[in-house]
Each structure stands twice: as C-alpha cells, then as structure tokens.
C-alpha cells in the first residue's frame, strides 16, 4: 500500500515539475566568464541577491547563482578567471543559452589578453552559435572605456561570425545598465527555447 502511495507521490512530483517548467518557468544556463577581478562574482551577486559586495576574495572555481523574474530563471555559472580555471570554461559553456563575458573596462593593460582569451574560447566548435554578451564593467571609474562601440572595436566583436553579439557598458557598483543587461538575457532565454 505504502509502495503505491510513494509511487503515486513520485509520479505526482515529476508531473508537477514538468508542468511548472512547461507553463510557468523558463530556465536558462548562462556562463559568466572573464579575466580575474573583472567583477563577475560581484555582478552575479548583485543580480541574484540584489546586494553589492565589494572586496571579494577571488573565486576558486565555480560559483552558481540563480535569479528568477517573470517566469524566467537564470542559472548563472560564474567561473573563476585565474589561468588554471580558464581551461575549464568551455565545459560550462557547452549548451549554455548565452555566454556573458565580463571585462574590466578601466584596465586597458589587460585588454589584449582578455581579447585573445575570448576569441580562443569562441573558436571552439562546440560553442558555435551561442550568443555572446560582452559587458564592459566598472564604467563608474574615470579611466573606463564607456562607449559600447569602442568596446566592440577593442574586442574585435565584428570578426565573430555566426552568433548574436552584443556589448554593454555597465557599472555594478552604481547599478548602471544592469536592467538592460537583464532584459537582453531574458529576451534570449525565451527566444532560445
């Protein structure tokens, strides 16, 4: 008897999961990448918990955060930017709805390295067609590159063929442009599935 109940219960949970996913919830995987100290974890924490925490210790590996709004759940896979973690980026990008690449717009010295890492990653055949959102963070700093066009040029986004590419200049500290970023992401979640 209890077997039957437990089986029914289980099927019921499964059914509910499925229905919930069907009608109320759209989930999407996002990979948040970029060189160390670009502000990835800060951005993710800001989006998911609406908290601004500065002076974080570097992320050692993987940080997973969720954000739900209007029937869409964003699963943000925030990966460490240190060299030893970069090799693993690809594994978390495969199958993602979008790749979010965060750069420190005020640190022009690292632009070249950041660009080559980005292009290396996107040249992987397994990641073909996945939309890219480039975020130039720290626009509140005076030295920052604030123009999106300029960012696109620095990072040579024009050469990225076969995928949707977009760039925004944002500031996690001042919460500048965070809403349009979210809008872009949510838009892509519904479009994809």
């Amino acid at each position: 008897m209890s077997d039957l109940v437990s089986q029914l219960m289980r099927s019921w949970t499964d059914l509910m999961d499925w229905l919930y996913g069907m009608f109320f919830q759209q989930e999407m995987d996002l990979s948040i990448l970029g060189l160390p100290a670009a502000g990835k974890t800060t951005l993710v924490t800001l989006i998911s918990r609406n908290e601004m925490i500065e002076d974080r210790i570097p992320t050692r590996g993987l940080n997973m955060q969720k954000y739900s709004k209007g029937g869409v759940t964003l699963k943000m896979w925030d990966l460490g930017g240190q060299a030893n973690f970069r090799a693993m980026w690809e594994r978390y990008c495969v199958g993602a709805s979008a790749i979010v690449y965060v750069v420190d717009a005020a640190d022009s010295e690292k632009f070249a390295l950041s660009r080559s890492e980005l292009h290396d990653l996107l040249s992987k055949p397994s990641l073909a067609g996945i939309p890219l959102l480039l975020l130039g963070n720290k626009s509140d700093l005076p030295a920052a590159v604030k123009s999106e066009k300029e960012l696109a040029e620095i990072f040579d986004l024009a050469s990225l063929k076969g995928r949707e590419v977009c760039a925004y200049s944002i500031s996690a500290r001042n919460r500048t442009n965070i809403d349009i970023t979210l809008q872009w992401l949510i838009a892509h979640s519904s479009k994809k599935s």
Binding site: S6, R10, D17, E27, L62, G95
Partner: protein
C-alpha cells in the same frame, strides 16, 4: 523517510537496483546532469548507479572521469539535500582519476559556510580530499572553527579531515598548529568526537615520544568516555610498551596497571583490546597473562558467536607462548568444540592440540574423533595439520596419533582432506624414521579404498621406494597386487612400477620370482601403458627368464645399470637443449660431458623446501626466500661469454662469495665454476664511484699456494661505468691428476678515467690503478657436488664401489656442542649430500652414523660413511670410510678432513 521510499521503489521496479549496471550506460545517463530542467530524483538514481559502479572497482579512464566529474558539478545548482550528499560522494570517488577537481573548491567553501550541518560536515571532508597543501592554508580558518563546533558531525568531519591531511602530507604544518583546538575537542560531549580527537592528537604528536607518553599517561589517569577512544588509548599504550621492550627481572612494566584496569571495563570491546594487548606484550610472563585469560574465559560462555570467536583467537595465541596459562579454561574450550560455529570450533581444537601435554593427547584425540565427521573439510585439514605438529613435538606419541590419522583416512572426506593426511604421513615418515612401518601400513589400507587416482599413484610410488627396505616387503606386495586387479589404468601402471622396485637387485630370489609372476599377468592388460611398463620391468630386471637364478642376478645388475642413464635426466635435457641451441651440431653430443651433480636450480628448490619447513616451525627465513628467487641458472653469465661458452657447462657452479666489504669503492663477488680440467673464476664487479669510469678491468690471480695450475687466462671486463655491474673472468687450467685447493690472492687492475658526475662525460686520458680484494679459497666442498639422484639404497651403492679405493681414517673434532652440530658441520665441509635421512640426529644421541654421497670433479662418485661419537670431555671422535672409483680422490677427501 523520502530516501526509504525511493529505495523501496527502486527495488520494486527493477528487482535489485544494481542488476545489470554497465559502465557505458551509466556514463550515458550522467548526461542528464547537464539538462536545463534538472530532474532531481532521476539524477539521484544515476548517481547511485555511478557510485555503485566505481565502488565495485570499475575503472574509469581519465577522460571519462573528468567528463562525469564536470557534469556532476552542475548538480550544485540543486538545493536538494540528499542529492547534494550523493554529489559529495561522487566527487570524492572521482577525485583520484578526474582532472581539475579544484573547480569545486568555491562551491565547497560556500557549503562549509552554510548553516546546514550536513553540508558543512561533508563539504569539509570532500574539500580536504581534493585540496593541495597550498590551499589548506586558505581553508584553515574554517577548519579550525569546525574543530570546536557544537555539532558532533561537523567536529568529527574536521578532525577526520585533519588526519587525512596529515596522512597524505598536505599541509602538515597547518594541522600541527591545531593542538589547542583538538585538545578542546577531546572534551566534546559526543564520544565519537572524543575518539576522533584522540586519534588526531596522537597523529600530530606521534613523532615526539615524550609528548605521546605524557598524553597517554594523562588520559590513562583521567579516563575517556568513549569506549572506542579507550581502545585507541590501549593501542597507543601497547605501542609504548613494545618500544620499551622486555622489562628487567623484578621490574614492573609502566602502564601495566592501566591495561589491567581496562580488563574490568564495562564494554567488551575495551576488555578484549586490553586482553589482546597483554597477550602480545614482549616477553609477557604467565603471571601477567593470567588476568587476561580469566576475562577471556568469561567471553567463552557468552552467547554471541563473535565474542567467543574473538576470545578463542587470543587464547589460541596465548596457547602458543604459555600453554599452561590457558589450562583453567580447558573445560570451556572443550565445550566449544561442539559449537555450531565452525570457526570457533576449529580454533578450540587447535588451541587444545597446542596445549595438549604428552599425557592428555589420547583424551583429546578421543574428543576430536567424535566430532571430526561433523565438520567441513577445510576444518578437518586444520585439525590434521595440528596433529602433524603435535606428532613432531611428541614423537613418542606417534603411534596413537598415527592411528588417529589412519582412522581419519577411512572417514568420509574430500580430496583436500585426504591429501593433507597423506602429506602428513609423508612428512612424519621423514621426521620420525621409526614410524615408517606404521605409516606404510596405514597408507596401504587407505589405497584399498581410495577414490583419488593421484593419491593412489603417489602412495604406490612411495611403497615402491620404501617398501623393499622394510622388514617384510612381502606384505606390501599383496596390497599392490590388489590395485593391479581392481583399479583403473593409471593406478595399475603405477602399481606395476612399484612392483618392479620389489624385484630390485638386493631382494631374495623368491621374492623376485613372485614379483615376476605378478608382472607377467600385466603383460596382457587391456591398457598399453600398463603392458609397456610390465614388459619393460620384466626385461630390464631380467625377470623374463627365471631359469638360472644365479646368472640372472648377475644379468639383472648389468641390465639394471645399462638401463640407467649415466646422468640425471634434467641435466641431460638442459645440456641437449643447449647443444641444439648452439647450432654447432657437426660435433657429436658427448654423454660423458653431462654433469651428474644436482643442478643449482634443483638445489635452490631444496633450500626453498627447507625454508618452508622452518617456516612451519615458526622461524622466518626471509634471506633464504630471497636467495631462492634469484637462483635461475647461475652459470648463465659464463655461458653468455663467447670465449668461455665453448668450454661447455661447468660441472659445478659454487654460490657467489663476497670479496669486498659493503660500501667500498668497488664491490666484487666471485663465483667459482668447476670444470674437469679447469676452474673459471667469475668476478662480478660493481663500480660505486660516480666520478670514475673503469676500463679493461682484469682480475689478476696469484696461484702460488695452489698446486697444479698450468696456465692462467684472464678475460677483462671492457668497461665499468658507475653502478652497472660488469664481469671479468680468470680461467685457471690445471694439470691432470692434481686438484686445485688452497687460496688465491686476487688483485684488480684497471684503467681509470675520471668522469664529471654532472655531465657523465669521461676524460680523455686515463691512468692504471690496482685494487686489492680478499682471497678466494678453494675447498673440498667446491669440488664436490650433491648428486642429482641419491642412491636408492646406500648399501648397494656402497657395495658396488667396492673396497678397491677405500680410505679409512679417524680424527678428533673439537668444539661441538652436540652430535647434531658436528654432523651438519661435516656435511657442510664436504659438500656431499646425506643419504637415507642420516642427517637427522636425535637430540640425546651420543653417537651417530652419517651416510653421504657426492660427485667429485670430474664425475667421480664418492661415498662416505662417517661415525661420529661424542666424548664425555666435549670432544667429538670422527671415523670416516671413503669409497670412490679413484684412489687419488678418496685420499684427497680423507686428507681434506684432516
């Protein structure tokens, strides 16, 4: 509750959830971890399968493991606790094989800081597993906090992780800083935490002997709440007491009172551990062991089998060192013989057999007899083994014990059981010669009703070898003849061969006649092997024509000799193989060139046998075991040298002798190869200086002290780089009729080139140098070999050699404590093999006759009969008679002894 239900569900659906799990399918299933919409329940199921697979020992390749590992990390998104728990387990299992596992560091650190205790504890364990020494420092803060956490699971996890870190040498210095926290954890209310804390504390301090003894002493006084911690404490105490060694007479062991008090602990586990420790203390006295025996005795009557078993095991151990100590428990142990658990019962029997005094043997045997038929074969084998040991221990009781074995032989039982009895008989026959007659009698009866062909043939062979020497050989023939008419072809063939032995030369004509009658019947056997053997036996023994008994006896001796090869078959085989492999078949094969001596390979097997014998007696002989492993063909280096290979195989190769001390500049070993007309000294040289390269290494030999050396030929080792062994040979050719005995001074001459150890390059120029090594001595034993086949009957071989070249002499040997040591010294000195078990000397004997056979170069048979008499004043008188086919050899051997 939920977990329970799921398990039940799995069971209902698939029978066992673990049926038919297959690696490829599971790896495929692991892909669902990456699904956008996570199905928690399904993921759990797959993870369980994965863990099952890995737990069963299935190996994942590095790529597979890495792939699975990364998909598992995706599951960190779920907040389901039981799923997370499985994720932790999976990461731990995959951590060995997968790459880049550090990616989860952040996730785990986050879990450690969460407020779910289950997450904290498990994440700590996993993190410490995947972390490296450098990262330990970064997580130390969290670990330190957890050590003193209120939750017992979390605190234990941190403590155990600390042990793991120490064990794998990850951040030792970090863990060592935790002494305060760990000491604090010792006072945790949970017994588990206390146990883990003690283990870690000990591990931190274990290299500081003083600190350990202070820790142990404090705890021994204050006591611990956790029984497991107490057990641990007892083990530490045991280690300390072992280090302290045996106390001087009259002195008390420190800490012994602690062990003694543990014997009165409430928990069995503590009592047991204390008893076990006391039983294995170095040099434990019967008085010390008594309280332990008393508590173990109480265990014996407890209803729980495991308690009885544990106690029985320790008592067994005690029985070995102090048989008298377990006397008080005898009656309890005797009841256990009937215990339904066979392991307990067997331990009980072996303990009883160990402690049996000479007088109680009969009584115990009676008890075992009742019970033997009820136990399984494997236990019967153990019983037989114990009886065999007992029999060797009390030879005077052999009659009773053998009768017991005899009746056991008639019991029901499988092959292994029967074989162990037959083996026991064989060993006892060798060790207690006076038991031969009874042994053979029992074995004869056994083959009357034996269903195992291999055992029958073995016994028949034995009867053939031993039977004719017994006082009444005729009675064995009846048993053998019965086999001939009742058994299968294999056994019949063995019986024919055995019968043929009885018709050997030194039996009476009447016996020969009856044997020939029996053999003739087998000429019409249905099996051709049997017919062949019968025909061969009749012909070779000259039994096919019995008209003229006198002529036949002569003929028999002759044909018997003709039918025998002049050399042992294995040696012949080895030489023939070498001859064929050499390719030079234009030259005929010389049968005379084949050595009669036992090959080194055979000899080493003999050593192995001895080693296993002494192991059976409880004496470890690792050195002999090692030697045994290397001995392949000792002459192989020699035969590999093209200049020397044409001399053929040496008649004898002596074991290597060290000519240098250890840790000298060059180490040299010498192997002597003996030929009919030469001696080859093989020098194995190792250069242990990394800044030298040696070239043209000669070994100069000075043979002044040795007579008859005609010519010396030196073969150098061309090059000796650092650490690589090389070989130089010195060939001494001798005059005919002389024997190279004495010592040879050896000097190594070589050219040195200096080498830069960094680059390994040698200088251009070199200089010559000399190096003196120890002398090589040639003794009688070097020229003598043990024959591959001992004469079946010493007497007939002795008579066959005759008195033509007999030398008799008497000597007085000093400094032997017993006849036994004198006998083994003689055997060692002459290098001959003892015959007919005459190397075994009873302890009380004051005189002994030793019979020996040997092969002296080149292939001369030597027999020696030595009478050793022990004098009251401690000296040993030795009278030797030597017979050989060469006067010079006889003379030489006799003189050699002097």
């Amino acid at each position: 509750m939920a977990v329970y239900d799921e398990r039940k569900y799995l069971k209902d659906e698939d029978g066992s959830p673990f049926d038919g799990i297959e690696k490829g399918a599971v790896l495929q299933e692991c892909r669902i971890f990456s699904d956008v919409q996570l199905k928690t329940f399904k993921c759990k199921k797959v993870l369980v399968r994965l863990l099952f697979l890995v737990g069963q020992g299935e190996k994942l390749t590095r790529d597979e493991a890495t792939g699975v590992f990364f998909s598992v990390t995706k599951l960190f998104q779920s907040k389901d606790e039981s799923l997370r728990r499985l994720v932790y387990l999976a990461i731990k299992e995959l951590a060995h094989t997968a790459e880049e596992v550090i990616i989860v560091t952040n996730c785990l650190t986050k879990d450690i800081n969460s407020d779910v205790d289950m997450y904290r504890a498990n994440a700590t364990r996993v993190l410490c597993k995947i972390t490296d020494a450098q990262m330990v420092q970064q997580i130390e803060r969290y670990l330190k906090q957890e050590l003193v956490d209120r939750d017992s699971v979390v605190a234990s996890a941190a403590l155990v992780s600390g042990q793991q870190l120490l064990l794998h040498g990850k951040g030792d210095y970090v863990v060592r800083r935790w002494v305060n926290e760990v000491t604090q954890a010792m006072n945790h209310p949970s017994p588990m935490v206390q146990y883990h804390a003690l283990a870690l504390l000990y591990q931190i301090k274990q290299h500081d002997r003083l600190a350990v003894s202070r820790l142990v002493q404090t705890l021994a006084q204050s006591g611990t709440r956790s029984p497991l911690a107490t057990v641990l404490l007892i083990r530490y105490v045991a280690r300390m007491m072992h280090d302290a060694g045996v106390p001087a007479a009259g002195e008390d062991r420190p800490m012994f009172h602690f062990l003694d008090s543990c014997l009165r602990h409430m928990k069995d586990i503590v009592v047991y551990e204390a008893a076990r420790t006391i039983a294995s203390l170095p040099g434990v006295t019967p008085a010390e062991i008594q309280p332990a025996v008393n508590v173990l005795q109480l265990f014996l009557v407890q209803p729980r089998t495991v308690t009885k078993f544990a106690a029985m095991r320790i008592l067994n151990q005690i029985a070995e060192i102090h048989p008298m100590a377990i006397m008080p428990c005898h009656s309890d142990i005797e009841t256990l013989i009937a215990d339904s658990n066979r392991s307990v019962a067997t331990l009980a029997i072996t303990a009883l057999l160990r402690t049996a005094s000479e007088s109680s043997v009969e009584r115990i045997l009676k008890q075992i007899q009742n019970f033997l038929s009820d136990i399984a074969d494997e236990f019967k084998v153990k019983v037989v083994d114990a009886i065999r040991t007992l029999c060797v221990k009390y030879p005077s009781k052999h009659y009773v014990l053998m009768n017991f074995l005899g009746s056991a032989l008639r019991e029901e039982g499988g092959y292994e059981f029967k074989k162990s009895i037959v083996d026991a008989y064989l060993e006892l026959m060798e060790k207690i010669p006076e038991s031969k007659e009874i042994c053979l009698g029992h074995l004869c009866e056994f083959i009357e009703d034996c269903e195992h062909t291999t055992l029958s043939t073995r016994i028949l062979h034995l009867l053939g070898v031993e039977g004719p020497q017994m006082s009444n050989p005729g009675k064995f023939i009846r048993y053998i003849y019965n086999r001939l008419i009742l058994e299968n072809a294999t056994v019949r063939a063995a019986a024919v061969s055995a019968l043929a032995h009885f018709a050997n030369v030194d039996t009476t004509p009447k016996l020969r006649e009856s044997v020939s009658v029996l053999l003739k019947q087998s000429l019409v056997d249905v099996d051709d092997e049997v017919r062949d053997r019968a025909a061969y036996a009749l012909r070779s023994l000259g039994l096919d024509n019995l008209e003229d008994a006198e002529r036949l006896t002569r003929l028999a001796i002759k044909t018997h000799e003709n039918a025998m090869l002049p050399c042992p078959v294995p040696n012949l085989e080895m030489e023939l193989l070498r001859y064929i492999a050499g390719g030079n078949t234009a030259q005929g094969f010389k049968l005379e060139g084949v050595s009669k001596a036992a090959m080194a390979g055979v000899a080493s097997e003999d050593i192995g046998q001895k080693a296993s014998d002494s192991r059976a007696m409880g004496i470890p002989t690792p050195a002999e075991k090692g030697r045994d492993a290397v001995a392949a063909d000792p002459a192989s280096t020699l035969l590999a040298n093209p200049e020397l290979a044409e001399m053929g195989r040496p008649l004898k190769t002596c074991p290597a002798v060290e000519l240098t001390e250890e840790e000298t500049e060059y180490t040299v070993k010498c192997v002597k190869h003996i030929y009919a007309d030469a001696v080859v000294l093989e020098f194995n040289i190792v250069n242990t200086l990394d800044e030298q390269l040696l070239e043209d290494v000669f070994m100069r030999v000075d043979t002044e002290e040795m007579e008859g050396v005609e010519k010396i030929n030196l073969i150098p080792a061309p090059k000796l780089p650092y650490g690589t062994p090389g070989t130089a040979f010195s060939v001494l050719e001798r005059e005919e009729g002389t024997f190279p005995l004495g010592s040879i001074a050896c000097t190594m001459r070589f050219t040195v080139r200096d080498v830069d150890p960094a680059t390994g390059e040698a200088d251009e120029g070199g200089y010559t140098d000399e190096y003196q090594v120890e002398e090589v001595s040639m003794g009688l034993a070097d020229l003598m070999s043990a024959p591959a086949e001992l004469p079946t009957s010493f007497r007939s071989a002795w008579d066959a050699l005759g008195t033509n070249f007999q030398v008799e002499d008497s000597f007085t040997l000093g400094n032997h404590s017993s006849v036994g040591t004198a006998v083994s010294a003689i055997i060692d000195f002459l290098g001959m093999a003892s015959c007919e078990g005459t190397d075994r000397v009873s302890d009380r004997a004051t005189s002994h006759v030793l019979l020996m056979a040997g092969i002296f170069v080149p292939n001369i048979d030597v027999l020696c009969r030595a009478q050793v008499t022990f004098q009251d004043d401690g000296g040993v008188d030795l009278n030797v008679i030597i017979r050989s086919s060469d006067q010079a050899v006889s003379q030489l051997v006799a003189e050699g002894i002097a």
